[in-house]
Symmetry: C2
Subunit: 234 residues, 2 copies
C-alpha cells in the first residue's frame, strides 16, 4: 500500500480506531478500555474492531506498532546526526568531548520537547504501563527504538567518561540521564505540584531544558588538555 494512495473507507476506519485506541487505551488501560468506548471515540461501529484487528487485543498491539513507527521516525534525524558527527570526531575531525556532549543534549532536549506535544501524553501512559508489565507490546517498543536509543546514549556517555563502550557504567549512566527527563512524565502530577505549575507548556519545557543542560555540563566537564578523562573511581 503506497503512502500516496487515496485512503479507502476501510483505511479510514482502521486509522480512526488506531487514534481512538491510543487515546482510550492510554487513558483507561487495556482492561478498563471497553470495545464500546473505543468504537465510540473512533465513531465507528463496535463490530469493526473485530473485523479489522481481530479483537480488542489485536487493536492494542496495532496501536503500539503505530506508536513505535512514529517515535522511530521522530528520533531518526537526531540519532543519525549524532552517529555521523561522532564518527567524524573519532576520525579526528573535531572535539570528541564537545561533540558527544552536544549530541546527548540534543537527544535529551528532543525528549523534553515531546513533553509538550499533546499526543505523546497518551503514548507515555501506554509505554509506562507496558514497562511495569511487559508483554508483546513491549517487545515492539524495545525492538523498534528503545534499544537503539539507549545504546546510542550509552556510547555517547562512554565517549565523555572514557569508559569502555560496552561496560556497565556508561549504560547505567545513560539510564540515569533518561531518568532526568522521564521523571517529568512518570511523576507528572508530583512535578506539577512541586513546581506549582498548572501544566507543562513551552515555558516549562524551556526551564526543564535549561536544567538538563546545567546538569549535563556539570556532570561532564571538559577535560583539562593532556589529562586523561577517565572518571575517578573510589
Amino acid at each position: 500500500m503506497p503512502a500516496t494512495a487515496k485512503p479507502t473507507r476501510g483505511d479510514q476506519t482502521r486509522q480512526a480506531l488506531l487514534d481512538a485506541g491510543t487515546e482510550i487505551f492510554g487513558r483507561d488501560g487495556f482492561h478498563a478500555a471497553s470495545s464500546r468506548s473505543l468504537a465510540g471515540a473512533a465513531q465507528v461501529n463496535q463490530a469493526l474492531i473485530g473485523y479489522h484487528f481481530g479483537g480488542k487485543e489485536g487493536l492494542y498491539l496495532a496501536v503500539f506498532e503505530y506508536i513505535a513507527d512514529q517515535v522511530s521516525a521522530s528520533m531518526q534525524p537526531v540519532a543519525a546526526a549524532a552517529r555521523q558527527s561522532l564518527d567524524a570526531a573519532r576520525a579526528g575531525d573535531g572535539d570528541l568531548h564537545a561533540t558527544a556532549l552536544a549530541a546527548l543534549e540534543k537527544i535529551l532536549f528532543g525528549f523534553a520537547a515531546m513533553l509538550g506535544e499533546e499526543k505523546t501524553t497518551a503514548w507515555a501512559r501506554l509505554i509506562l504501563r507496558e514497562q511495569q508489565d511487559p508483554g508483546p507490546a513491549f517487545d515492539i517498543l524495545y525492538g523498534s527504538f528503545m534499544s537503539r536509543l539507549l545504546d546510542l546514549m550509552s556510547e555517547l556517555v562512554a565517549c565523555l567518561t572514557g569508559d569502555e563502550p560496552g561496560a556497565d557504567a556508561p549504560r547505567l549512566c545513560a539510564l540515569t540521564l533518561m531518568g532526568q527527563v522521564l521523571v517529568f512524565r512518570a511523576a507528572r502530577a508530583a512535578t506539577l505540584r512541586h513546581m506549582k505549575w498548572s501544566s507543562i507548556g513551552e515555558k516549562e519545557i524551556g526551564d526543564i531544558q535549561r536544567q538538563l543542560r546545567l546538569n549535563l555540563a556539570a556532570r561532564f566537564p571538559a577535560p583539562a588538555p593532556g589529562r586523561p578523562s577517565e572518571e575517578f573511581q573510589p
Copy 2:
C-alpha cells in the same frame, strides 16, 4: 485502637484486604481488579469488601493511606537526620557542602534500596498510575510524604548550588535527581534488557548506587575555598 491490642477477626479481615488490594490493584489497576479476585487473594468473602470499606473504591483509597503511612515511616529517620545535620552545619558546625551532599546521597540510596524490596513493586505501580491520572488517592500520597521529600531535597540542592532555596532551579534539580532513581522503576523492563539483567537484586542495586554516587559527586563538586559556589548561568 492501641497498636498493641490483639487484632479482632474484623481487623484481620481488613488487613488481609489491604494486603491483597496492594497486590491486586498494583498488578491489574483499579478497573481490571475485580472484587472477586481481591476477596480471593485475601481469602475472605467478597461481600466483606462492602462491609469494611464501603466498596471497591473505598478499599482502593484505604490501600493508598496504608502505603503512605509505611513510606512516611521508612523515610522519617533519614529525613530527620538530614534536617538535623543541615541545621548543625548551618550553625557553623561542619562543612555545609559535604553535609548536604551526604544527605542527598542517603536519600537517593534509600530509594534505590527500595528497588529491591518485594512489596514496593506493587507500591510503585500504584503510585505511577496515580501520577498519570491523579485522583483522591494521589492527594493522600502527595500530602503525606511526597511534598515533604521533594522540599527537603530541593533545600539540600540549594545548599550545594548556592541557589535561593525557594527558586525554580533547585526544585527542578531535585526532580531530576529523583528521576535518576525513578527510571529504574518507571522504565523497569527497558532497564532489565538494556543492562542484560534478569532482575534487580542486591548486586544490581549496588551498581545503581555506585552510579548515583558518581553522578552526585560529579554534579556537585566541592567548591574551591574562598570561591563562590553559585553555578555558572549562561
